[in-house]
């Protein structure tokens, strides 16, 4: 598909938030809606979430991630949403210009009347929780392991410890167990569960995977590949309690220690971020501080349920569409006034169609060549003459004024460009 230079709404990211935004934008009446996705297919992280539990709120069905995504992919494509896949957005400007790159298409420079940021979130890493020890292979975020297992069919380990009781961590504990791996335990530094209770029941309890609250990994052991981790109890200030250390042999440590909205592009666009959520400050339309730039889903704050991400996407998409439609109307109000036969220039250069409702509009021009006999000055839409007036002569040194009266309002609405001509009578 040929990517156009200008779109009403460009959505960055095709996860649940992005897809919902694109669908809503289309349904609100935008013709040109583009979704840019860095992976080779639409759906975002849902595609690697093969477990169920999606759609209970808004679809009243219990679906796996890829099925949930497919509903929205089909709807978006059915509505004529355009897509740019396997493409990474490099830059977004506050003026809503987007630079993207892809292997197939090279560099894209796209203008958007409005933008919906839907880049989702990323996982916190080992360094962000300052987890001590050497740096062997075998320390992965739960999401990276999930991609390997569920999408590529590889096992990153056989014997696991999961640090953090986030939902992905618990879901991966079950998933790995189903694949025959041993999950030694899930360790949580807080005195309470970090994810949903239903995941604790369905993923840990049902599979006899122990959960240790108020414990953390004190250090990683193993220089090349993880060989064990040292687990330790913590006090109320999350400090290790000495004497409680326990070495747990394993070959892999999975981290499920929190998600952070992914806002590198938002920053480039001048979007202000809330230090508490990590996402943009938004109004109830999900508009950011930059006019015409909206944000939807986990890029704003991290949701527990995909259904709410979809709902947020709908709101952001509708709002972005309304912005684009208003902008388009504003752009269409203006039409060029161009110099025609024997005219050097015309001022003003553009005419606001609506000005004629307020009264007549005066335009001024100069001719190219002198004509020392009576001439006629004409304002035309193509061959149709809308306004004309006579002059005894035309000289470059003497400006000509033409007044467009209110009564031609209806004729002007039909034009896309108006030209001015000065010809011999």
């Amino acid at each position: 598909m040929k990517i156009k230079q200008k779109y009403d709404v460009v959505v960055i990211g095709s996860g649940p938030g992005g897809l919902a935004a694109a669908i809503a934008a289309k349904k609100t009446g935008c013709d040109d809606v583009l979704v840019i996705e860095r992976d080779i297919e639409l759906g975002g992280i849902l595609l690697q979430c093969i477990h169920n539990g999606f759609g209970l709120e808004i679809l009243k069905q219990d679906l796996p991630g890829p099925s949930y995504a497919q509903r929205f992919v089909s709807e978006a494509l059915g509505l004529g949403v355009e897509t740019l896949l396997d493409a990474m957005v490099l830059d977004v400007s506050p003026q809503r210009r987007i630079f993207a790159t892809s292997r197939k298409g090279g560099l894209y420079d796209i203008e958007a009347r409005s933008i919906v940021l839907a880049m989702g979130c990323r996982e916190r890493t080992r360094s962000q929780i300052r987890l001590p020890g050497p740096r062997p292979a075998g320390v992965f975020t739960a999401g990276t392991a999930q991609r390997w297992v569920n999408v590529e069919g590889y096992m990153p380990g056989r014997r696991f410890v999961v640090l953090g009781s986030g939902d992905i961590g618990m879901i991966m504990a079950r998933r790995l167990t189903l694949e025959g791996a041993k999950v030694e335990r899930v360790v949580e530094i807080m005195p309470y569960l970090n994810g949903l209770m239903r995941n604790y029941v369905q993923c840990l309890l049902d599979y006899d995977i122990p959960l240790q609250l108020r414990h953390t990994v004190n250090r990683i052991i193993g220089n090349h590949r993880v060989e064990a981790v040292e687990i330790v109890a913590v006090n109320d200030r999350w400090e290790p309690i000495s004497g409680t250390e326990e070495i747990v042999p394993c070959d892999t440590l999975l981290l499920s220690v929190g998600l952070i909205p992914e806002n590198e592009l938002s920053r480039k666009a001048g979007v202000l971020l809330d230090p508490l959520t990590g996402g943009p400050f938004v109004d109830d339309h999900f508009q950011t501080n930059v006019p015409g730039i909206f944000a939807a889903g986990n890029v704003v704050h991290v949701y527990d349920l995909v259904d709410w991400v979809t709902e947020a996407g709908y709101i952001a998409g509708r709002s972005a569409a309304a912005f684009a439609i208003e902008l388009r109307r504003w752009e269409n109000r203006h039409m060029p006034l161009v110099a025609g036969e024997n005219v050097r220039y015309v001022v003003p250069h553009e005419l606001d169609r609506e000005s004629l409702t307020m009264g007549a509009v005066r335009i001024q021009l100069r001719v190219k060549q002198p004509i020392e006999s009576p001439v006629v000055v004409e304002l035309r839409n193509g061959e149709d003459v809308l306004v004309k007036k006579g002059e005894p002569y035309a000289r470059p040194g003497e400006m000509i004024t033409l007044t467009i009266p209110s009564k031609v309002y209806d004729l002007v609405q039909k034009a896309s460009v108006l030209s001015v001509h000065v010809v011999q009578r």
Binding site: M88, S102, L107, T125, A137, T144, W148, Y154, M155, R219
Partner: protein
Amino acid sequence: MAEAYDIIIVGGGIVGCMVARYLSRYKLDVLLIEKEADVCTGASAANTAIVHAGYDPMPGSLKAKLNVAGNAMWDTLAGELNFAFDRRGDYVVAIGDEELAHLQCLLEQGKKNGVPGIHIISGEEMRNREPEINPSVSGALWAPTGGICDPFGVTIAAAENAIQNGVKVYLETAFEAFIMDGKRIIGVRTNRGDFYCRWVINAAGLYADMVMHKAGIYPEFVIKPRRGEYCVLDQADITVRNVLFPVPSKASKGIMVTATVHGNALVGPNSNFIEDKDDCSVTRAGLDEIWHGARKLIPSLDTRHVIAMYAGLRACGNAPCRTPGVDYRQDFIVEVAEEVSGLINLAGIESPGLTSAPAIALRVVEMLLEAGERLEEKKDWQPIRPPRPRFRHLPREEQLRLIREDSRYGRIICRCEMVTEGEIVAEIHAPIPAKTYDAIKRRTWLGTGRCQGSFDMPRVVDILSRELGMSPFEISKRGGSSRFLLCTTKEVNHED
């Protein structure tokens, strides 16, 4: 028949690679052996990335001499080898009035060492130059010749330039013993067989003492690993413009806060002797220590901005300074061994080893000449090592041209640092092939941003496997047993 060379360099750190590069100028058969899967994996890989001005080492020591001489070579070197180097100067920052006196000592020491341009600036001036500095700053020593660099970039470029000029580099080739003919070294025994030579250059870093002992010399010389821990901060969260040292202690130059050529701020290192030469662990206590030290310079630093941590081991030796009258017992060893023939030792090369490396390499050339080697220059020696394109640094038109020539430059693999598939593939097929994840990371800076490789890792494993024609289960983080993937799904048996 075993391979024979004129010179074998043991160790592919900054010193070994720089020596290889300077020797590649002459008509010599040179082999560099490195035990790891890549060059630049030890102390050269994990340090502060500073090109020191030279006011710190003890006057009269070899460290002082080679530091100042080495520092002066970096502009030319960066131009020839095309690596990231920025001579932005450095500061030693005194906090409170009691530290101010130390600046004067450092200034005098620097002048004795021949460091150009150093002088003391006021606390107010320091506050102007670094707005984030501790407001209690009382003054600073300003050294305009200090600089920052990309140590991987330097080491890899030096090794590549050596290869361009005919040097051979064997990776995963570990020194085991010398092959001797009486008191004369005639070769080395490795895990990959024997290699013969006339000279061995011992640039084995932390293990340089062990190499010497294998030759039966210098039993009292011991290298103890002195660990330094570091944190890297997200450049989106905090910008530090300058290279800021605290007033130094006896043990080290202290915990600093510095800008890096990649734009991130770096804090560290502490300085603790440890036993195990392989233990690059970061520790809870160590992180607290460097954080405490760093906040003394820049109080606004926030641990939430940490995106990476690492530890490096300094090869701390106990060699006395050879200059008469200088009582210093931690000097570099850069000399031809006396008790055996055919061995040059470059040992105890801790900081300022990175800065000194080109000067050490030149000294090696001189020592070979002094030992009677007739070094004949190659007519076609090529000092320029061409750079490979870095997509993120290019203007749009250049990016477009690159993608047109090779569409793989249009596919971003690392979203944080904007590294393309084209760059990764180019490194895999470079003169020193990047065959592991870490090798690619060090060359392209992929996976070093705020997601720390969570996004790119599966994609890089896939590209490595495809380009090297290896199974994904053979792809590792840094060689050996550091593999990422163990088997496919449905075939796990955790009792294995």
